[in-house]
Symmetry: C2
Subunit: 780 residues, 2 copies
């Protein structure tokens, strides 16, 4: 494999455009004659709709359409279930709520008017009479007998009850020399992309074609679903995910109500319609994630080797479960991580509550699993008086043990088999970088200064790059410039650079001469989307496969032009040259032109005209990245404020395409992880009202809260794809809760404070420190 | 090959839409904010532009842009040469004329304004000072020494002088027992599609994409050329040839000035721009065809066997030759037709004149060749006192002699080799249908009644289905409906039906469930266009190749679903069934869905997701159709008016896809042929002014002028493509001038009138009859 650009810190192709304000986000789509939509949302977490009167809204001049559920015809029923599971009793939401609303923010009515201003005015003229019903808010309360039931036909609030087991946990725990029990939890949070959701739709009645601009992570499934729901051929529906200002998971949901309503309105009205979610809507109408409560029981031997582990946990679905059981399944499958756990049992209940629906958010259950496992490692170490890293070492899967079958079934329904890795190397590198050997003395120095400084470590294994497949088409134009179109969408992953590097190497051109277009179903219509750290692995290898075909074709055509054998040619600098006779050369553009003649014929062996090929990559199972984060934090014992003194990431995602891009992904993930540990928590009251639905109250970390991050990369290439790469998109965020808890516990070791849930905040921490000091006082 | 629908008179898929007025022609494209263009055209056939003052036009409120040549920047130079030839001294036209205009109607300035009305007003405010130059109008005058020269750098008006020879004409003519000489000519005519040309262009500055609606026969080359000329990537240019109201050849030109000017104006102005050619413009601004003057010398033996044939001819290019030498080369290559001519020499001069440019028009030189050859056959028969059909029989290539190498190089630069045919069968069938055996008595009866009734016969061989290639993509959607996209455009050829039949047979569905989309580069971007009777052959076989791949994929995927072997399955009625166990079945839609899963993976042997495949067909050379027309006409000796009493067509275009569609093609061709024989002639005065540039003066035949046409089909399948088909689009028109002349000569045999040029008209014919009668009077 040619690797002139692969692995290099190539600067981003997308930056000149984005940094000069030439990005196109959905709200930048301005169409002549465009109307604007606004959505009336439920103010209740759970209520019966007794009556809706839209007459006054409809009478408002400039209002073109007011819809409630009963106006939706065949689309009045529930929206599709995205990922079914045999254990799932699936309930999905409606485009507009029928008789019952089940969370605050659920769409009740749609208004389309000349302006958003007018549309919002019209919302206020819609009269809805609600009969409030008891709200199911608390996750543990929701499963107690006698709790109010959201879906009477289910009899209780349990969406799914699912068990996976490896070995025999009961037997093993009985025999284990040491047994510990604990409870761990992560609370509800939101991905909070800078760009909220948005949809613009245009219908052309003349050829019956629908174009939809959608800030989605999965334009192709949206296209396919819209075609099905709206009764249009797929070939007549074009979905464009233009520049998307952050996705992080919630934008891979399909369908959100507005993604159906806006196209339907455009079709009915014959005019383009735009809807842009405002931030307040986003907090209640875009999917959340994270709330899981894990009860854990672990058995281990005197050496700290884990013999048996069980997690029994609750997962909060919110009011619907269109995304199925992906998060809890990923959580339980991520939990064992780098460790050999011979007897492992995971049992969860996914639970409906009267809150916004949940679906994967960067990490997608992995932070939960890692939090539990790494906390357990710490507890074992404490119990045995061992260094936690020694416990890690003793439980690690060893480099010679790959492929390693964990024994579970993963989210893609494939066996959970790790392809490659070198966990000891990653750990030791990380410990070396953070200065672990010297840490006891350093810590003592800080303590001597009266400072509460702690060092934490967290290790994880991350499943990435699952199927089913992605594809790409690579085209060399007569100018010699290269175009790549792929089905994945882009929300900041630098695909326009990394895919360009992959293709440039095969075609002997500069990555700057390779234009990558993503997220436009008109340009490439086969694929699934950007999620699960799969873009680079699956679409990247599809780009590679397509580029290899184009390379072969270029050599074949150039061989005819240069009267040479293909194997005697080389591609470099935009030229095809005879090796050893550099004056015998043609430009790649000339080859492209020759491959597409206007007269004559083309040889059968070309299998078609032009320097163009499509390629696909369909992995039978995912590839597994791993990493270790270490941090040194300082806690202010008076305010509870935490400051990072150092943050080290050692990461193994196989072969690195572009270290600049990779570090950007890691940095962003760590930042989002820190937000989820210390700043971002969605707070509901007992009525199911979200109390902090604004950036005034729901805090995001900014550059000043995020420390410099030191990174290093170990490369254990994946044997599952030609590029040897593994996914990295979620890596940064995954171990942060575990790490943060570990470091703070170390810093506050004198107070004996345990961190078993996330996020925490300075107040909570300060309170714990005060309590601990009081205990010390009392003890005196 | 499955042939449930192939060969059947399937009703047209396009008719419900077109017959209910739901067609979309370029003028039906209405875009918000659209501006309108008008073109200032030269009133002189040849003049120097001394001065252009556009200030008053620019000052007119509502005018957005006034351009002359000097405003065009890099596009100020000549437009591209479409088909080069080593013998061609090519001159091509300019988007806007620079210092010199070279024919009446040549674009001089462009105005874009709020409305067409305003734009036309602005044209009148543009002041142009012309210095008239001597106009070169007459074709023979143009090549006389001392004639004015249009391009001083060439020294004369000769665009090309080209000779092809088989055997040794000089030697053979010297030894021939009989030698005749004659001169034949066809005059200038116009294709006159109901829809004139039109262009709408929209540029989106945000993603730099250009969409152009163009009434072209070749949207893909237009896309490629626009990308090159405008400096845009091909991937960012979309050309749509929507419904096109007739093409017939002139719409395969590229580029007409407006096809560059309108997109360029849309880019500069940032608003959509429309230009629709009016009929008066069409007469002078859209390419003409036909004027050729052939001097012929033929040597033959006592049996009427042709031993040597030479044609020395002039071809009228008009002012430019962007389309190269296709017409005269096709003419000389078509001339030998079904006859074995051992010594053949063709020599032509292509000549520039100050008239509208010429390019192929339905038949594209073939009517010229057939006219000459069939007239020669008649002359030989007369000379020897033989029946012309006996002369035909004696010279025919015999069914056992295929492939037959004529010995010339054809328009596609490939050797002129006929693939298959049975000319005697075609002739005998035609003679039987017209009642040739009984004709002498029938004619005598008419004459006895004082009626001038004649029977004519004309035979031709037509090269069709040349390369370089076409392609198609066939997709089965989850609904089970099938989509076909191909690169050719459609101007009435019924591709939506015939391609659907081809695909339906492979996939076991009804042709009505197959939607064919043509002429949209966004849906299929590889191909050449619709011309040279190649659509069905080249694109049809590409559809077949793609459908076969999809069929194989469907069987492969269904085999998995049905737990059967692919070879045990059959496709029919939209289902895939286990043969002999019809209850074991899945719908084609279910198979399509299974082929594109959202989770899991797809097997490597699928080579990609979905029931979709692209296929190409790239013939190394064309296939050769043939046919014989016979007609009985009656001439009114007083008025010269001619009436068809019968019209018989026996046609062999290989395997027939759809006899309804085929007959429609034949009928339309015959109608256009009759127009070219008796109604349609472009008349220029000595200054190069076209005197009959309106449908008041340039007459098109209507339904009342066209007789019922009886057709029969002989099928000699082509061995060159899997469907065994040959082209038929131009067949109807090709022999009509030869036939018409033959029949009229027969009808007017008592007057000894010879018809050696076309078109003629009633006045001319009445005059000849009067002269003949006068001669008879004199002789008395």
């Amino acid at each position: 494999m040619a690797t002139r650009h692969f692995g290099q810190p190539v600067r981003r192709n997308e930056d000149p455009r984005l940094l000069t304000g030439r990005g196109t986000y959905v709200d930048d789509v301005h169409l002549p004659g465009m109307l604007h939509a606004a959505v009336l949302r439920s103010p209740h977490a759970h209520a019966r709709i007794r009556r809706i009167d839209t007459r006054r809204a409809q009478a408002l001049p400039g209002v073109h359409l007011v819809w409630t559920n009963q106006d939706l015809g065949p689309l009045a029923g529930p929206l599709p279930l995205l990922i079914p599971h045999p254990a799932l009793r699936a309930k999905t939401q409606y485009a507009l709520a029928p008789g019952i609303v089940r969370h605050v923010g659920e769409p009740v009515a749609l208004v389309v008017a000349e302006s958003r201003y007018l549309a919002e005015d019209a919302l206020e003229l819609i009269e809805v009479e609600y009969e409030p019903l008891p709200a199911v808010v608390d996750l543990e309360e929701a499963v107690r007998p006698g709790a109010p039931v959201i879906y009477p036909d289910l009899g209780d609030n349990i969406a799914a009850h699912y068990v996976q087991e490896v070995g025999n946990f009961q037997e093993a725990i009985r025999q284990a020399p040491h047994v510990l029990r604990a409870r761990f939890s992560l609370e509800r949070g939101a991905a909070s992309p800078l760009e909220t959701r948005g949809v613009v739709a245009r219908f052309d009645p003349q050829d019956g074609s629908l174009t939809v601009w959608d800030s989605t992570q999965a334009p192709i499934p949206i296209r396919n679903g819209l075609a099905e729901m709206l009764g249009l051929p797929q070939q007549r529906v074009r979905v464009v995910a233009p520049d998307v200002g952050g996705g992080f998971g919630p934008k891979v949901m399909m369908f959100y109500p507005e993604e159906v309503l806006i196209p339907l309105a455009a079709m009915r009205l014959g005019r383009p319609v735009k809807w842009i979610e405002d931030r307040k809507e986003h907090f209640v109408a875009t999917n959340h994630e994270r709330l899981q409560i894990h009860d854990v029981e672990v058995g281990f031997d005197d050496e700290g080797r884990v013999l048996a582990l069980q997690t029994v946990f609750l997962h909060d679905c919110g009011a619907f479960a269109a995304y199925g059981l992906i998060i809890p399944i990923v959580a339980e499958c991520t939990l064992p991580g780098p460790y050999k756990i011979p007897n492992y049992r995971a049992e969860f209940k996914a639970v409906y509550t009267n809150k916004t629906q949940t679906s994967p958010y960067r990490g997608a259950g992995r932070p939960h699993g890692v939090f539990v496992m790494e906390r357990v490692i710490k507890r074992i170490a404490e119990h045995l008086g061992l260094d936690p890293n020694e416990v890690r070492r003793r439980n690690f899967i060893q480099p010679g043990e790959f492929p390693y079958d964990v024994g579970l079934i993963y989210q893609d329904n494939a066996p959970l088999v790790y392809d490659s890795g070198n966990y000891p190397a990653v750990l030791e590198k990380c410990l070396e970088m953070i200065g672990y050997d010297r840490w006891p003395e350093v810590r003592e120095q800080y303590r001597a200064e009266g400072r509460y400084v702690g060092l934490g470590v967290a290790f994880y294994v991350e499943g990435t790059g699952i199927g089913p497949y992605e594809g790409a088409r690579v085209t060399v134009e007569p100018t010699g410039k290269v175009f790549v179109a792929t089905g994945v969408g882009t929300q900041g992953q630098s695909h326009a650079t990394t895919f360009a590097q992959i293709v440039a190497d095969q075609l002997g051109v500069d990555p700057a001469d390779v234009t990558v277009v993503t997220g436009d179903t008109a340009l490439f219509g086969w694929g699934t989307g950007t999620f699960a750290s799969r873009g680079a692995v699956v679409a990247g290898n599809a780009c590679y496969n397509a580029a290899v075909k184009v390379r072969e074709k270029a050599l074949q055509v150039a061989a005819g032009l240069l009267e040479a054998r293909p194997e005697d040619l080389e591609l470099a600098g935009g030229m095809v040259r005879v090796k050893g006779a550099p004056q015998r050369a043609v430009s790649l553009g000339q080859v492209a032109r020759a491959a597409n003649p206007l007269r004559g014929t083309i040889p059968e062996e070309w299998e078609g005209p032009g320097l163009e090929a499509s390629g696909y990559f369909a992995p039978p199972r995912g590839t597994f990245a791993a990493g270790c984060h270490a941090a040194i934090v300082e806690v202010d014992p008076e305010t509870g404020m935490v400051r990072f003194l150092r943050y080290v990431v050692v990461h193994d995602c196989g072969r690195v395409i572009n270290p600049l891009v990779l570090d950007g992904q890691i940095h962003g993930g760590v930042a989002q992880g820190i937000g989820g540990c210390f700043y971002e928590r969605l707070v509901y009251d007992e009525h199911g009202q979200l109390l902090n639905a604004s950036f005034m109250d729901y805090l995001l970390p900014t550059a000043t809260e995020i420390p410099p991050i030191e990174t290093a990369h170990i490369e254990t290439p994946s044997p599952l794809n030609p590029l040897g790469i593994k996914g990295a998109g979620e890596a940064g965020v995954i171990p942060v809760p575990a790490l943060f808890a570990d470091a703070i516990e170390d810093a506050l070791a004198p107070f004996g404070i345990r961190i078993d849930h996330m996020p925490i905040d300075p107040n909570w921490l300060a309170e714990r420190i005060r309590e601990a000091r009081a205990r010390v006082q009392e003890a005196r």
